[in-house]
């Protein structure tokens, strides 16, 4: 089994983690890949971080009860290493002066205090860092580099390092992939620093470990937020990027086996910017999807030790822009499966649970008895059992999150929808056990995936009804909800 450890640094890193976890659940990295996930951010309340944590949680819950060997969806396990805050356990207001104990530093060495005055402006000294590094890499690197003193002994790091070393001892070749923007604060300071420090920490097994990174160049733009004095400014992005790239090239480049620079000529615009906190929850972007897909790109094969990944067309992303063998195919299948589930199969299953006679239900739904028992005492699972109900709820929760995510990506194109046409739908998880009346039944998948044309003999795949009929035509090795969604994914 291939082991991949992904570390998302900062708000953009967290958004890339969201994409990575969805790709892993969709089977885009292959059936035999274990994904370890760690989130790094100084701003525990950051909206992007919270969204990523929710996605990881959804994937863990769904994976725990839907995982089966040799299937496509949820075949690869996800291990959550949790979240690490470079500021430590400080929960109250924290400034750079608090971290470096400014008063004590001046008392010990006045010259050091003056150097500190030179490097850090008075506003930066007093800025509250509990909402992140405010788009200032200088603040971030000063904080993140303090991990050197702890030797990766705090938080989730010991477990992560132990697992990587155990993989190497077992003869595996684990891959560590870091995500972060290079134009903001946390990512641009944390990514090169952590990559370098991890490389040094794993020096004994360095040859057996691949360290790669998806570095996101400025891909969005926003107005000045009105919430704080010290804020991230889009005008600084180019300057930050230049400095961070120079640092990567001169000092940190050797620590990475391959660095993927990811960007887009057209910047997405965020209407309601916020510098950290729960309000900083921006919609997902196609650039993050490309960054996440880079996890499956082989280092050194066609890319050397660095590559620039972007969309081939300035205005819209196409399926061919996604790196990695099979990424596009898996993602397309997952979109169609989740769409068919959300707008058809979920309510069908809930409806079947309300039927007293399951045989009566299967007379109008011939696929049903291929996966579920019509009466007690048969080998197939009972659709009304608690186990099946939990599987329905878990998959639905994940698929709602998946559809929200892919919808945001589809809308992130500057010209029009891209990859898939999922307009006019609001995806909300449903808690009840009865059919969700807010979901209108859909039958056609014809216009869902943009740029996918099926051969005439395969047109049946555009109809949910015909797909269900295909499922009804033969027996399946896997039954129950797991069998239903995986067999649908395979033929869709």
């Amino acid at each position: 089994m291939k082991k991949v450890y992904v570390i998302g640094i900062g708000g953009t890193g967290a958004k890339c983690i969201r994409s990575t976890v969805h790709l892993q659940c969709a089977g885009a990295y292959g059936k035999d890949v274990r994904l370890g996930v760690l989130l790094v951010d100084a701003d525990a309340s950051n909206g992007n971080l919270q969204s990523a944590r929710e996605t990881v949680q959804c994937a863990l819950e769904a994976g725990a009860i839907l995982r089966e060997t040799n299937v496509s969806l949820f075949s690869g396990p996800v291990k959550n290493y949790g979240y690490w805050n470079p500021l430590g356990d400080y929960s109250d207001r924290l400034t750079l002066s608090d971290i470096y104990r400014e008063a004590g530093m001046r008392a010990v060495d006045a010259g050091l205090g003056e150097l500190y005055d030179c490097l850090v402006s008075p506003e930066e000294k007093q800025a509250d860092l509990s909402v992140g590094f405010r788009g200032r890499p200088s603040i971030g690197s000063a904080v993140v580099s303090r991990i050197r003193a702890t030797g990766f002994s705090q938080g989730p790091w010991p477990e992560l390092i132990n697992d990587i070393q155990a993989d190497c001892a077992n003869g595996d070749k684990p891959r560590i992939h870091l995500f972060g923007s290079i134009f903001g604060g946390t990512g641009s300071s944390g990514l090169p620093t952590l990559g370098t420090l991890l490389s040094r920490e794993l020096v004994g097994v360095r040859d057996a470990v691949e360290i790669t990174a998806s570095v996101l160049l400025p891909y969005f733009d926003f107005d000045i937020p009105d919430d704080e004095d010290i804020y991230a400014e889009a005008k600084n992005f180019t300057l930050n990027t230049d400095a961070a790239l120079q640092y990567l090239a001169r000092l940190a480049g050797d620590s990475f086996n391959c660095i993927y620079l990811v960007g887009d000529g057209t910047k997405q615009r965020y209407d309601q910017p916020a510098t950290g906190g729960p309000r900083q929850n921006n919609p997902s972007s196609c650039i993050e999807l490309i960054a996440a897909a880079a996890v499956s790109a082989e280092t050194g094969v066609g890319y050397g030790n660095g590559a620039y990944l972007t969309v081939s067309d300035d205005n819209v992303m196409t399926w061919e822009d996604l790196p990695g063998e099979g990424t596009s195919t898996s993602l397309r299948s997952a979109i169609r499966t989740c769409y068919a589930w959300h707008f058809n199969l979920y309510n069908e299953l809930r409806e079947s649970q309300r039927f007293d006679s399951k045989k009566s239900f299967t007379k109008g739904a011939p696929w049903f008895d291929r996966f579920f028992a019509l009466k007690d005492g048969t080998n197939r699972p009972d659709v009304e059992s608690e186990a099946e109900s939990r599987q329905i709820a878990a998959f639905d929760k994940w698929s709602v999150d998946f559809m929200q995510w892919i919808q945001e990506i589809c809308w992130s194109g500057s010209a029009r929808e891209q990859l898939a046409d999922i307009r006019d739908h609001v995806f909300k998880a449903y808690q009840g056990l009865e059919p969700d009346t807010s979901r209108q039944y859909a039958e056609s998948l014809e216009k869902l995936v943009i740029g996918q044309t099926l051969a005439k003999r395969e047109k049946w795949r555009d109809s949910i009804d015909l797909l269900k009929n295909n499922l009804a035509d033969r027996k399946h090795r896997l039954e129950g909800v797991i069998g239903l969604i995986n067999n649908l994914y395979e033929i869709i």
């Binding site: 409806e351 299967t362 007379k363 109008g364 015909l466 009804a472």
Partner: protein, 155 residues
């Protein structure tokens, strides 16, 4: 059709002066026409079930109404066809020593047998084939088609 015609002529105790001629000249043409109509309705149902796209189970089950309508119409057309042939055909008995030129026979139709035979025709020519020939999502819509299909195929 031929079997039921044979039964009327030779097996069933019908109160007809010339049962063989009656079966030949009234029942057989009527049954031939009815069979064509039954097959027409059956093909219409098969075509409909092949092309129908159902969003969900309830929508599929609603098509039972259409199936019952077609079934009813096919039986009704069988009855109409019988009535037309009974009303407008005069049975010509074959020549005999008593009547070398043949005779015209007026018969009271054997309704006590025609009604069940019509229903039997409906079952054999529409219901049974539709149980096995219905397509896709509507494959189990004809009554008892699920039970019949699961006899031949373990699902």
């Amino acid at each position: 059709m031929l079997v039921t015609s044979f039964m009327i002529a030779n097996v069933l105790p019908v109160a007809l002066q010339a049962p063989e001629q009656w079966a030949q000249q009234i029942y057989l043409p009527s049954a031939s026409l009815s069979t064509v109509v039954y097959l027409g309705f059956l093909l219409a149902w098969i075509y409909y079930s092949f092309n129908k796209r159902c969003k969900n189970c309830l929508e599929a089950k609603q098509t039972l109404g259409l199936w019952l309508t077609l079934f009813g119409m096919s039986i009704f057309s069988n009855i109409v066809s019988l009535i037309l042939f009974i009303q407008f055909t005069v049975v010509q008995a074959t020549a005999s020593q008593a009547a070398p030129g043949g005779t015209l026979v007026v018969n009271a139709p054997p309704y006590e047998f025609l009604v069940p035979l019509t229903l039997l025709n409906g079952l054999l020519l529409f219901w049974l084939p539709s149980c096995f020939l219905s397509q896709r999502t509507l494959r189990f819509i004809p009554p008892f088609s699920y039970e019949l299909n699961t006899i031949s195929e373990k699902r």
